[in-house]
Symmetry: C3
Subunit: 137 residues, 3 copies
């Protein structure tokens, strides 16, 4: 069984879509494997804590320091810059963070831990429409 | 087929559980796909070299330098600190390293390379009980 | 269904094998899930942009700066160095980048986005023969 989750983003940060995933799986009500795959090279998937919102703020802050914009002096070696200073850093973050996730499903419920949520991690500054392919079997 | 591997950790580092995985798959004796998913946001899964123990020491040392404790001056921007200086860095390392692994299985044997072992990478300082969900189909 | 893709590398960088994957899946012509797993601990898999070659150059440049060779002063703490200065950094990059990829397949076509290609990311300096296990179900 396959579907595609469509998500609209308004700048860098984490966008949770755990409930979309749960709602899709619920009627299936059996064991299997859920696979998610993001069809872009400048955003990522992420399983992370969904309790304290500060975790998401800190996460974004860390990755902005690890991979600064290409107009930052430390990134002067980057060549792929014509789409703006957030372009190549977005590709690098997309390499560092998951493009695909595989999550076992028991009786139609993904076996997420108590504090685990499923997120799209947007790395671009401009608004984007993002597409996450989902497969269940 | 599903199970859950339970692992006890005593501080940061790599804990190998390749033999648990092999033992679970052996009686199945057919082709398929193994998926592992760690049900926590402050530890990771990792496939790495299991020959020289220095690899594991170096791995841990690298990640401690890449993501220092939140009481380190370079990490003063972190907000999610109330569970201690290893709290938010653990979440960041859990973002940088795999939450899920997918490994083809041939005749009941995961197709690991000669030097590949399967590890839980613990990022927290205190002892923890960790749960890794496994799915085979 | 399983196979193994064999790739020869001549030093660090990205080696695309999207067309090998497409050719293997095409005759299947049905829905399913493709899993790729690299059987080594010093190279990685990566889904990245296949349009501008500068992206690949920048990607390699970033990771060489994030994880410099072990004879770089900042890496003096590394112990696993007997196979050369590119040895332990290769293991670290292999931890930071994917060892496995899971990609839904629709009618025999992987659901890659327009600009997504599938790459082996070589981290070692010497030429290597690399093996990527593939599973489709």
């Amino acid at each position: 069984m396959q579907t595609e989750f469509e998500l609209s983003t308004q700048g860098p940060g984490l966008y949770e879509f755990t409930s979309d995933v749960r709602d899709w799986l619920k009627p299936i009500a059996r064991d299997g494997l859920l696979t998610l795959f993001v069809r872009h090279t400048s955003c990522s998937l992420l399983v992370q804590e969904n309790a304290d919102p500060d975790v998401q703020t800190d996460m974004r802050a860390f990755f902005e320091r690890l991979v600064p914009p290409s107009n930052h002096p430390s990134m002067a070696y980057l060549r792929h810059t014509y789409e703006g200073p957030d372009d190549m850093p977005a590709h690098i973050k997309a390499a560092l963070l998951p493009v695909s996730l595989a999550i076992p499903v028991t009786s139609g419920r993904p076996v997420l831990g108590t504090w685990q949520g499923i997120y799209l991690f947007e790395h671009r500054s401009a608004p984007h429409n993002r597409s996450v392919a989902a497969h269940f079997a």
